[in-house]
Amino acid sequence: MKVLVPVKRVIDYNVKVRVRPDGSGVDLANVKMSINPFDEIAVEEAVRLKEAGKAEEVIVISVGVPQAQTVLRTALALGADRAILVHAADDPHTDIEPLAVAKILKAVADEEKPTLILMGKQAIDNDLNATGQMLAALMGCAQATFASGLEVGEGSATVVREVDGGLQVVKVGLPCVVTVDLRMNEPRYPSLPNIQRAKRKPFATITPEELGVDVAPRLEILETVEPPERKAGEIVNSVDELLEKLREETEVV
């Protein structure tokens, strides 16, 4: 089977994001960019399926600016077989919305016919948590979101989902979309020879127009601001003093 893994280029999760003072967004100048951590876990899971002899080919795809090719190279170095870049924007501040990304992925899936689409549950920039669900809707197939366990069988997959009350186990028909949570696996580090090898793997660039998808945003971003600050509190010197303060300030203790 073929596995398709969409990946997104985002600000590295270790970077403290700074809001631009004019409210136009967050500062991207000289900021380290990386593969969205949830997507990296999806790539790792797909590569493990290949190593286990369950998948024949792992295709990675990214929708965005040309610089997104760096995260595709990372995914190839982790073990994916080929990459597709959908060149959908030139300004790095342009965030292609989940609905448009889902339409692009649907068009690519129609061509490539993957049995499984594995992707991160959300991108850590816009935190929308929507693309996988939207893609499954457009494909008319099953979805298993927030997955921490995946067992692929004949014609179906069993997925352990992380839900608010604990875990839910579902069986989904194939093809399907699985979005992964943090605890699914721990991604490997790409080795130097694999980074070199990744440079020679097939890499295609296409455009949304070629796929017949309009990527114009539906949401107008009016302003991006700093979150309200919490004022710094006080340091107490003992448990007794802490209790005294809590009795003064709250009714719950």
Partner: protein, 308 residues
């Protein structure tokens, strides 16, 4: 404007607090109809009818909605979505699974996890794990939204709205529920508890996490954990508070042995009062804490538990 609120139902039972908090946001948008989809959920529907500001409850009582699988529930909602200007639900793993599927099926752009309603088409939502807040406007005919319940107080009761039954839609038969693995305990639910006591990596072991649980049980609190504590195996993953876990906003949040990584702060910084107990006086948690105690948690926590 007409609003359809998807009630949070688990095993036929209403999650009253989450539904009542999302109702507060939904009422800011217009006239609210609540959809109660589940198996044997007529009791839940009657409970919803008592919430203030509910105009009508639609009860879709059918075994296929019993486990809130996204595919059948989305089809049910899509069948009636065009009658509404907004389709909303709490930003829980249940609604966040279902509603983006609905949005795509009606060609609307999903607006997840809103923290404020500015007007019928303008909303605020946190991005970058709460490190920035974005104000967005949607012109989609039916807007599909999930609500950050921690940002809202619960709507009260005292109403008796009519309950109508809604016939079930077809079953797409794409997925099948196998089992739930739910942790059983008598503690309050993490996202609706008035007090939360959380432990971090500083607690050091699964055995010592009982210090956290004992303190929590003494004051009727829910137990939480940082991602570091969960990843180290000290606490189960459904206790995790943070960007990748649960977002909580209790009246009192006690963080024990938690350094205060950005990803944890994103999940608890809307709490009314934050107490931090940590031996490292430079821990970032002290920058958001109302009261900080620089102390060895293995001495301070038992003392606190004793004296409460």
């Amino acid at each position: 404007m007409a609003v359809l609120l998807i009630a949070e139902i688990n095993g036929g039972e209403l999650s009253a607090d989450l539904t009542a908090k999302s109702l507060t946001a939904a009422r800011q948008l217009g006239d609210v109809t609540v959809l109660c989809a589940g198996a044997a959920c007529s009791g839940a529907a009657n409970e919803i009818a008592a919430f203030e500001g509910v105009s009508k409850v639609l009860c879709a009582d059918d075994p296929k909605y019993g486990n809130a699988l996204a595919e059948p529930v989305a089809d049910l909602i899509v069948g009636i979505a065009c009658e509404y200007d907004h389709v909303v639900g709490p930003a829980t793993t249940t609604a966040q699974n279902i509603l983006p599927r609905v949005a795509a099926l009606i060609d609307s752009m999903m607006i997840s996890d809103i923290s404020a309603v500015i007007d019928g088409e303008t909303f605020e939502r946190p991005i970058y794990a709460g490190n920035a807040v974005q104000r967005v406007r949607s012109r989609d005919k039916t807007k599909v939204i999930t609500i950050r319940t921690a940002a809202y107080d619960a709507t009260g009761t005292g109403n008796s709205a009519p309950v109508e039954s809604l016939s079930a839609a077809g079953d797409p038969g794409l997925s099948e529920w196998l089992e739930d693995r739910v942790a059983e305990n008598d503690r309050p639910e993490l996202t609706s508890a008035k007090i939360v006591v959380s432990g971090g990596r500083g607690v050091g072991s699964i055995e010592d996490f009982s210090l956290i649980s004992s303190l929590a049980d003494k004051i009727g609190a829910a137990v939480g954990a940082s991602r570091a504590a969960v990843d180290s195996g000290y606490a189960p993953n459904d206790w995790q508070v943070g960007q990748t876990g649960k977002v909580v906003a209790p009246d009192l949040y006690i963080a024990v042995g938690i350094s205060g990584a950005i990803q944890h702060l994103a999940g608890m910084k809307d709490s009314k009062i934050i107490v931090a107990i940590n031996k490292d006086e430079d821990a970032p948690i002290f920058q958001v804490a109302d009261f900080g105690l620089v102390a060895n948690l293995f001495e301070a926590v038992p003392e606190l538990t004793d004296k409460l």
